[in-house]
Amino acid sequence: MTNLPEEERPTTRTRPANPQPAAPAASGVAPEAPETAGVTPEAPTGDAGGSGMLLPPAPVEVNHLEEEHDSDPALLKEFPWLTDSLPDSDEEEASDGPVLPSLEELAPVGVCKKCGGDVGPDGYCLTCGARMATEREHFAEEPSTWVGGVCDRGLVHLANEDAMALSSAEAIGQHAVLVVCDGVSASTGSDVAALAAARAARDLLATAPTKGDGPDADEALEASILASLVQAVKVAGNKVVSHTNPDSPSPASCTFVAGVVFDGVLYVANIGDSRAYWVPDSGEPVQLSSDHSLAEEAMARGIERKIAEHAPGAHTLTRWLGMDAPALDPALRTHRPGGPGWLLVCSDGLWNYASEPGDIAALLAETPPTEAVPPVERASRLVDWANQQGGHDNVTAALARLDGPAPAASQTTPDQTDAA
């Protein structure tokens, strides 16, 4: 780097990306000569008259103390070894210093959703500094063209304790599993437990049931699917328990809701207050799950929903999965859609802002079913909307698109729903 004359030296200077420590002028480059040592004296005494010295790159006059005095006797007395004779000594060669280790080269680990810049290995964007959501904080699943869901941390909570697990066969309406578990934030490790529970339930339910022959085939099929849902709840509950430290003062716990689609029919099981809705393209939307919460109990006693759901303690669960859970007795429901529509399975992070089935239906209708927007994208819009409302909780939304019963079955079949 060229030495600038003093008056041009700025306070900050731009350097190339890998700055080297400041060094004097490199050989081969002639800078301006700095001011000569030995400013013209205004004071008396002492004509210096030094010998010249070659100081690269340009020779500069340097003063030497001309007159050789004797050593001050006081110093010789204090440091008598000054006048000892010295053996000849060889100069030691310096060895190369150790090489410094350094931080990993900052290779980007992703693309920033906010500004499109690179995200550094520390998880923050290298341009705008936004934090990249980790996989656990925000993930999506799209197991087929007609099933998709998004699970998100929301804006306020520090961790995502919601969980989701989906599976789907390729043919629309043939077979799909949508599971959502909402970890209770007051409990420890519920984010891990909820995810394990959701996945275990999904894996069990993903095995397609087989429909037998005979006059009772439909009833038998329904019974078998509902039984597998009960089993899935047990399996999920066991997973939550196995992910909990038995000595923990607040063991992990979570809700559970699973929606199974088989051959165009919906089967729902739930524990706690995560929900499933059926939203037909035309007709009345309906909540298929049944909350186990104080708010629900209040509504059962006749208190209006708006009041019940905003009362203090409204969200207190009366049933849940976990070590200290009361009986694992899920609410069960079968529903036979009469026409096309959406199965929505979601956590309270969404329905807190749109509890009535009508509100949910209005939200979904913002993107008409005729628009070619895949379910995972629609679910993403629901999650974004919840975050726009404040994102006070983790939010999960999973959707399955059904086209309605096969035309041969009937022209307009009214929905049929059985509660178990």
């Binding site: 490199a26 010249g52 103390l65 006048t83 210093g97 410094l100 520390d122 500094g129």
Partner: protein
Amino acid sequence: MAQFSSMVYQNEFLSAGATDVNAIVRVGITDAGQAGVMSGPAGEIVIVDISGSMGRTDMLAAQRAAIVALQEVLDGTYFAVIAGNHQAYLAYPPVMAGQGMVRMNTRTRREAQIAVSRFRADGGTAIGSWLNLANQVFASMGPGLQQKHALLLTDGANEHETVQQLDSAIAACVGQFQCDARGVGTAWEVAELRKIAEALLGTVDIIPAPDQLSDEFAAIMRKAMSRGVPNASLRVWVPQGGRIMFVRQVSPDVQDLTGRGVQVNPLTVDFPTGSWGDEERDYHVSVRLPARTVGQEQLAARVQLVVAGTPQTQGLVKANWSDDESLTTRINPEVAHYTGQTELANAIQEGLAAKQAGDIATATTRLGRAVQLAAETGNSEATSRLLKIVDVVDAPTGTVRVKRTVDKADEMALDTASTKTSRVRG
């Protein structure tokens, strides 16, 4: 092998619409090793005032101290000795051409010490010329000399130079070598040596009596020799739209680094911090970001210590907008403490300046504030120095009376030590 660490102390939670993020970043090095091992040999220059004002006692003490300092310089280190009055002289090595420094070994050490023993006090004081010579001597060694340090002693004010000449010399030396400056007695100007020390990443202090010189010089040189990590920079990245408001070292002493930044790229600035031994330094970093809405979370800054162009440790300063008042109204204790310590340093310096200008009213207010802050922040060293200048009526309210007669050495001691800070208690 040097080990690097960093810690960030801050309250990351901002209320909606808030923009300013303050953090204390503590950077530490252990196993730094000796100077001159990590990246090539180190260079040391001892600069001794030989002006006529150095009476025999002072001159002897200075020679003694220089001899002792040379004793501490490790074999293999390049070194030279400069004697200065109204001119600067290369007292050792007595070279006629080529490089102006030689490697330390038993022979060169002895020769230099004998040269020092021959000094005679005579002439005036032009410290800029001493700095210029030191700069040239270092420069004569070429780019291979990485870690350069000078120890400068004077006893008087810079009477044989203009302010511009001294400032020019200082500016030419910025980034070239570090310099610790000491003044013996009370005839020198704290402000002049502080200018040098601040610009050249060194310390300034008073040595009230000449018999303390040797110990002080030995300590300085030992510290310089223990600085195994050369030329580290504090590198601060802020996101697009963000702005560095200031970067200050706040421990072990207050230094405003803000004006010394070198832009590395549009988002990143390097602040030179000189060489490090085994030590911890605390930095107060203040960043202004565009205000964001509740729920947004991002980095306000990445703060790294960079050696030889590579980051060795990194601290993340975060910003997290929240509507939870219990989170956003918290004050981080380290940030509060060092904000107080910085104010303490300013209060002392302003108080002393006012006193010297004869404005006792302002001096009383500012030094009173200093007493209050020193008590609040547990800086007992500052308190005991202040007590030599003021009588305290009530420390918690900062009510003081400036003493009628103050020992000049005590006043200068308070001045030079004004920037020293204490750590957070508990």
